[in-house]
Symmetry: C2
Subunit: 288 residues, 2 copies
Amino acid sequence: MSRASTFNLKEYLQARAEEVDQAMERYLAPDPHSLGPIVEAMRYSVFPGGKRFRPVLALASAEALGCERQRAMPIACAFELIHCFSLVHDDLPCMDDDDERRGRPTNHKVYGEDVALLAGDGLSLWAFEVAMQSPADLSAATLRSLVRELVAASGHPGMVGGQVIDLAAQKSGQIDGPQLKKIHAAKTGALIRGSVRCGAIVAGATPEQLKQLTVYGEKIGLVFQITDDILDHMEDPEAVSYPALFGLEESRKMAAEAVQEALTNLESFGEAAEPLRALATYLLTRTT
Amino acid sequence: MSRASTFNLKEYLQARAEEVDQAMERYLAPDPHSLGPIVEAMRYSVFPGGKRFRPVLALASAEALGCERQRAMPIACAFELIHCFSLVHDDLPCMDDDDERRGRPTNHKVYGEDVALLAGDGLSLWAFEVAMQSPADLSAATLRSLVRELVAASGHPGMVGGQVIDLAAQKSGQIDGPQLKKIHAAKTGALIRGSVRCGAIVAGATPEQLKQLTVYGEKIGLVFQITDDILDHMEDPEAVSYPALFGLEESRKMAAEAVQEALTNLESFGEAAEPLRALATYLLTRTT
């Protein structure tokens, strides 16, 4: 991994997040003629952006296959819109009932529950319009794949389904290791996996490449969740999490092994996959 | 219009609704392996079906252009899924707070607010998977059009935006005629218009045909809303509605004129457009 040390991931992530922000500004521009405050309410939960982790992954995945990354920008931003929609609905009183996110009042605190619900709906639907702004030369089969991946990652087979079993598990108060893995694989893993896959699909990945990048996506999704749990564990040791169920040491070991598997699956990729490699390693050691 | 009298609309509507129900059963089958009760909760608000008005319109629009109607079934059912999603979210306590719909407890009364919210999300996302089950021979451009129509009709430029300006108008307590028309055109009209347009797009409509069917869709959407308002007006004369704002007589006249414009736009269509003609006329005189 000596190559990774020469790659400046911090600069890379910042530059890509800025590109994503610029694209998102185009895809969801302020609209003074919109129907009421709906576009404003949607934009409130999209800007200012965070790390834009999912879209950056999609871009890096496309680049790993030698594809000009702007070609993956629409589908990358579609995943970000889905992520933003899920945050708006997650924060609603009937869900997590959160008043703040990223140091600002949550959407429903600003616009009211009704408009926030509709803003979330609007963001999830708009993701598909943005996905359709993918390059004009993509085949019908590729367009179909992108839409289906987006649905499978976000809908009841993925994120939405994961939220439902998470709710059920929280209510029952009984979550074991296998259940926790299943919840996270669907709730947060599916969107990360889907972002990586869709970047690869736009790039015209071979079945073998897509398979390897899929495993990469699954493994870094797992690492993302475990390190998230470890960071949260410091603040709330009682919460159901990887360290609570498996212990801190074992959780760190699981994360390290997952990174190793992610890297193994990139072995046949060249220099262009360096950002993906660096990202995997970074996830293991991140502190925020 | 002597032809219309020989066409049995009642039988037609019933037969088509049954076909739609059968297709919906395939597109959203019970899934014992689903993540928790999510598929069950989604199905609760899809079955048993009502008139399936929007999908039947899409099928009739495709047939009017000589297209085998099963080719339009996926996009037709996608519109129905969007309609069902909107009902689930509309009924939530933060929106209309309804306990009953079609004589049954609303989704959140059965599954809880959190699961109902997610079931609505799941239905709206699944609409795009079902849309992608459209015939394999459709071009990339046609697929793109279908997805964009679905988003424009349902998202913030259409239904979702209409709901937001409806909320704002209700809060302000001041709605005038032009505002009422704008609200309805977006809130209920866009989905009806979109259903007609997408049936035509699958059928390979010429630009001129699509234009005429678009006007047809807009006009019957208006008729649908005015007659809905007239029916509701009998029960609640105080509610903001066409009869409340324009008077009962003027409202009936507006509806009749809209039907006439709808029929005028079908003049260049042949016998195959008979169901669309009968539907327009029926909407004017319906009592449920």
